[in-house]
């Protein structure tokens, strides 16, 4: 019997500390002599700073330092943007505003004080005089000739244009038999809003000249490099630790001003400096997601076959680039055809500066927009041709045998069976029965909606050739002399559960108990290399590195055991704490083999003592998970209120290592995607003020708003990595948004409703109902 762990429902190793309140997030750490930092932030969207009077703040007892942009502009570098695209305009992005503020919430002054109370009190004592300028708030008019410019050093507000063109558009446009289905779609701005806000402690040791930074981050290794550059510290002397991280969803895949200023302040004062973000600061000054305007045209044959896709994308980037800001909308173009092999594609993406916080990677990062575009589009095609949305999709799916499938968008989908997931979800939802019920209810004036979404997404980021800062991942396995096993991963999970799934990989690989494996991540001095956790890559890329390093351990141990047992290494199996021949006739305890490596008395020739192996996995391609969702909604004809009655999802994320974790990722993703469709919206008013600056205004989903999610899976493995894993972190978010909107539009379709923009607030629905059937 082998020790079967992969594919099992195994409880998480992470949980005991978390459920007992014993875990340590950044704000839980207290260092000797630690000081606290606070920020005075711009209340204007766009203004010149006329003067800063910090005298009163400085004289407040307990205030140690008041720092302005002018003070540090020559001491600290600029906030980095890793997206390298042709012709990209990159504005100077200082850690503290110099001369001009460009969005509400931009840090202008930093205060360091003996405690957080004093630091907060001092904020109110700083007097900044501004000369307001006309802010740019609408990305479309920002492109007009007469628009004010967010950055005067540039000739306009266009940060970049990216074009993607494939196929024979001349022929297509000449073909008069094609129908063209057009729609403008708005993908609203969202706040990632992890429940733990951001936070950092920087501790510069004047003696050792080392900088240690605890940051609530998804990318400790990348942050280490960037902070070394930013603070002009020798990278060998910088250590970054991501302690427990309370959610991120892309928002902590970044290098932020506050991190830089904290390092500066600690260096200057020789004391640890802590900054913890407030919720309003989080909604104003942590990256936002989405915010695109998409003008879509689909060219369709009379039988429902879609042969061409045209889309103009305007992406509202905000005022400055954060780490990946301009790269995100280009992922939309990359995945815009969804799970349909549309031969002719034309996409133009314009990234636009506005006086807002930067947009960047938020769960799904560019792919939810793509899926929303194509899945709303397919429903519009169905409506135009009076077809069932299921039939339109079936008509346009490639066959399973067509994979790997190279697409005109430049990516090659690995494996898929779209028909299977769709059929399965339709069965789960009792689709034909639902349609009958819908008919029945319509006759009674009740509106039931059935919404479909079939998505594919791009995961396991990614081949280094396509990534801004490396797409590989590092894994190391060390068998300790006692036989316990330590796994080191360069990823930085923060809730996804890889301390558990990586332990499953290694324990199964070595045939030892799950509890004997401990996984470390998130500390650059403990784990030598790493990229981080984002883009649904951790298990597929990081897990593979661990898997390969485990294989290397096996190989070495097999060699050691074979040497002692007088068999060939290939004859040996690892199971139940033993290394033995398949018939069990020759066997060594796992610990004894480990002893061979460490006591090193009878090593085979050429074998080094010790048992540590590492692997850097470079994926050859992305992976492409997919799925099919059905949302059933009821619309209150009188008030426009929407009730989500049922949600069915069948997802395929490749091989499943732990179904418990996969379910958790799917559920959480669904909640965020549904949240976008129904409630969430980060709103700037016409003056560039954020008017949803608290959780009393920005509507995060709550438990009672959801029905029971009825989820199932299929498993289509990927050949891209030896585990066959595709990734599941973002799938739910990507698939669910269009399913909800399609459902609500479907509920009202018989009244002539064609499209409703998100979030589907009751008032919007009510207004539409009022116009379509003249009620009230």
């Amino acid at each position: 019997m082998s020790t079967k762990l992969l594919g099992e429902r195994i409880k998480r190793k992470e949980d005991p500390r978390l459920i007992q309140g014993r875990a340590h997030y950044v704000d839980d750490l207290k260092l000797d002599g630690m000081l606290y930092m606070s920020f005075v932030r711009s209340v204007y969207a766009y203004a010149r700073i006329k003067s800063i009077d910090a005298a009163a703040a400085k004289s407040l007892p307990g205030v140690l330092e008041v720092i302005t942009g002018a003070d540090i502009k020559d001491q600290l570098g600029l906030i980095p943007c890793a997206a390298g695209m042709e012709g990209l305009k990159i504005p100077k992005h200082y850690c503290l505003a110099v001369d001009t503020v460009r969005y509400v919430g931009e840090p202008v002054v930093a205060i360091v004080a003996k405690d957080r109370y004093t630091a907060r009190d001092a904020v109110d004592k700083v007097e900044i005089t501004y000369d307001p300028l006309t802010p740019v708030t609408d990305p479309e008019s920002a492109l007009g000739k007469d628009s004010p410019r967010v950055h005067e050093e540039f000739s306009d507000n266009l940060a970049f244009v990216a074009k993607l063109e494939a196929g024979d558009w001349k022929a297509l446009e000449a073909d008069s038999t094609l129908k063209i289905v057009k729609q403008r779609l708005i993908n609203q701005r969202l706040a990632p809003a992890s429940i733990e806000t951001r936070g950092v402690i920087a501790s510069y040791s004047l003696g050792e000249e080392t900088l240690t930074v605890w940051s609530s981050t998804q990318i400790p290794h990348l942050l280490k490099t960037q902070l070394a550059i930013l603070t002009r510290t020798d990278e060998s002397r910088v250590r970054v630790i991501a302690p427990e991280v309370g959610g991120a969803f892309g928002s902590k895949l970044n290098v932020y001003a506050e991190e830089g200023v904290a390092c500066y302040a600690s260096h200057r004062l020789g004391k640890p400096v802590k900054w913890i973000e407030g919720r309003r600061e989080n909604l104003l000054g942590t990256i936002h997601g989405r915010d695109q305007i998409n003008d879509l045209e689909l060219y369709v044959k009379p039988d429902g076959k879609v042969v061409g896709l045209k889309c103009n994308i305007i992406a509202d980037l905000g005022a400055y680039h954060q780490l990946l800001t301009p790269a995100i909308p280009t992922l939309t173009a990359l995945m815009i055809v969804g799970c349909y092999n549309i031969p002719n594609v034309w996409v133009e993406t314009k990234g636009v500066f506005t006086n807002k916080m930067a947009t960047d990677a938020y769960r799904g990062a560019g792919r939810p927009e793509a899926t929303y575009i194509i899945e709303r589009g397919m429903d519009l095609v169905a409506r135009e041709l009076n077809m069932d949305p299921v039939d339109v999709r079936m008509k346009n799916f490639p066959e399973p045998k067509d994979f790997p499938l190279a697409l005109p968008t430049g990516v090659t989908y690995d494996t898929a069976n779209y028909q299977k997931t769709l059929k399965k979800v339709l069965k789960l939802a009792h689709y034909p029965t639902l349609r009958k019920e819908q008919e029945r209810l319509r006759k009674k004036g009740k509106y039931l909606g059935i919404g479909l979404s079939t998505y594919v997404e791009i995961c396991a980021m990614g081949p280094s050739s396509r990534m801004p800062a490396g797409g590989w991942e590092f894994g190391m396995v060390r068998v300790e002399p006692t036989g316990k096993v330590t796994v080191y991963s360069g990823t930085s999970p923060h809730g996804q559960g890889e301390e558990t799934s990586f332990a499953q990989i290694t324990a199964e690989g070595l045939g030892i108990p799950f509890d004997d494996v401990t996984v470390y991540h998130g500390d650059t001095s403990v784990v030598q290399h790493g990229i981080g956790t984002f883009g649904s890559r951790t298990t597929a890329v990081g897990g593979t590195a661990v898997f390969r390093a485990t294989e290397r351990i096996r190989k070495k141990m097999a060699r050691l055991a074979a040497h002692r047992l007088g068999v060939k290494p290939g004859d040996l199996e690892f199971r139940d704490g033993k290394v033995e021949t398949s018939d069990g006739s020759k066997s060594m305890a796992f610990g004894d083999v480990v002893g061979e490596a460490y006591y090193a008395r009878q090593l085979p020739p050429g074998v080094e003592p010790g048992l540590t192996e590492q692997y850097v996995f470079e994926p050859a391609n992305y992976t492409f998970p997919f799925g099919a969702h059905v949302a059933v909604t009821e619309v209150d004809a009188e008030t426009g209120e929407i009730a989500l009655r049922n949600y069915y999802a069948v997802d395929d994320c490749g091989r499943i290592l732990n179904p418990l974790l996969v379910d958790g990722q799917i559920h959480g993703g669904l909640a965020q995607g549904i949240g976008q469709a129904l409630w969430e919206e980060l709103v700037y008013d016409e003056n560039g003020q954020v008017v949803t600056g608290s959780l009393m205004d920005y509507a995060l989903p709550k438990a009672h708003q959801f029905p029971w999610f009825d989820t199932q899976t299929t498993e289509t493995r990927t050949p891209v990595n030896p585990l066959g894993v595709k990734g599941v972190g973002e799938a739910g978010t990507i698939g669910s948004t269009p399913a909800i909107v399609n459902s609500v539009v479907d509920a009202l379709q018989h009244l002539g409703v064609r499209h409703i923009d998100m979030p589907l607030k009751p008032e919007k629905i009510w207004k539409i109902l009022k116009t379509v059937d003249g009620r009230q």
Binding site: R120, D121, T639, T692, M696, D697, Q705, P762, E763
Partner: protein, 290 residues
């Protein structure tokens, strides 16, 4: 998240509290459950110099029946009202309204008196107290007075309470025979505050016609109000579906309707009518009418 500094006072008796609040005048604020005031102080939208915490004044915590009236001490928490068996029998509108306030934790700590005195234009309690035709007791060192709910709410965050007065109790009629009450609410999804909250109380006569009716509406205007026009259409008439709908259509009559990110004035006006109708339908049904 961090309030400005203040001086804290924790009187044990009402008399002591009254003396303190009279002493501090505009500089002082009363702290009851703290669930209206502390959130403002944390954001530094309010920064009183003196906080008089009446949380230890035991004489303000009670629910009692007094002939055909129910009297509730100002420090009674929303949850105590929500879970009161006496109120479920004698004044079911109050537990039904309590359930709609904030969330479990807020209801455990927030108080009836604190909420009423804060007079948030979207709070739930005012709708119920108005519909019931309740009264609010205010006490100061110079004595006490009962203020009818309709006169209590002046405008946004403003009541007729004087600077030296403490809200000490509310008094509402117990549920008579052939009567029904209901509170329904269209909540803002993030805050849970009422975009529209409608409370209704209906007493039917022997013929099944509406003998008494009270409708209180919150969330719609700068202050909660009693919808007199709605009541006028119903009073004395059989509460048919048609009549209820006709009456409810007047829900936002004569008020300047709020508009915000979650509902325009036009939509709120519509919701006020719909939710008022729904509250009335429920109340009539509970009263045994059709």
């Amino acid at each position: 998240m961090i309030p400005e500094s203040f001086e804290y006072h924790a009187p044990q008796t009402l008399a002591e509290a009254s003396r303190l609040i009279a002493q501090f005048g505009q500089e002082g604020k009363i702290l009851a459950g703290g669930h209206s005031l502390l959130p403002l102080m944390k954001l530094r939208l309010a920064s009183p110099r003196h906080l008089v915490d009446i949380g230890r004044v035991a004489e303000l915590k009670y629910i009692r029946e007094d002939a055909d009236k129910i009297q509730i001490g100002a420090l009674t928490t929303h949850y105590q009202i929500e879970s009161s068996e006496l109120l479920k029998q004698k004044c079911p509108l109050l537990p039904e309204t309590a359930r709609e306030i904030g969330d479990v934790q807020v209801r455990n700590k927030g108080t009836l008196g604190g909420s009423l005195a804060h007079a948030d234009p979207a709070a739930d309690w005012p709708a119920a107290i108005l519909a019931l035709g309740g009264e609010v007791e205010a006490r100061s060192e110079s004595g006490s007075r009962w203020i009818p709910a309709q006169e209590f709410f002046v405008e946004m965050l403003t009541t007729t309470l004087q600077a030296d007065e403490i809200l000490t109790a509310i008094r509402v009629p117990a549920l008579p025979a052939h009567a029904g009450e209901a509170y329904v609410k269209f909540a803002q999804p993030a805050s849970g505050f009422a975009i529209v909250g409608a409370a209704a109380r209906v007493v039917l006569d022997d013929a099944g016609a509406v003998a008494e009716v009270g409708v209180g509406i919150t969330g719609v205007a700068a202050k909660p109000y009693r919808a007199a026009a709605v009541e006028g259409v119903l009073r004395g008439h059989s509460p048919t579906a048609k009549r209820i709908a006709e009456a409810a259509a007047h829900a936002a009559e004569g008020v300047e309707v709020n508009a915000d990110l979650y509902a325009s004035a036009e939509y709120r006006t519509h919701l006020a009518a719909v939710y008022t109708r729904r509250a009335l339908e429920k109340a009539v049904e509970r009263a045994g009418g059709k």
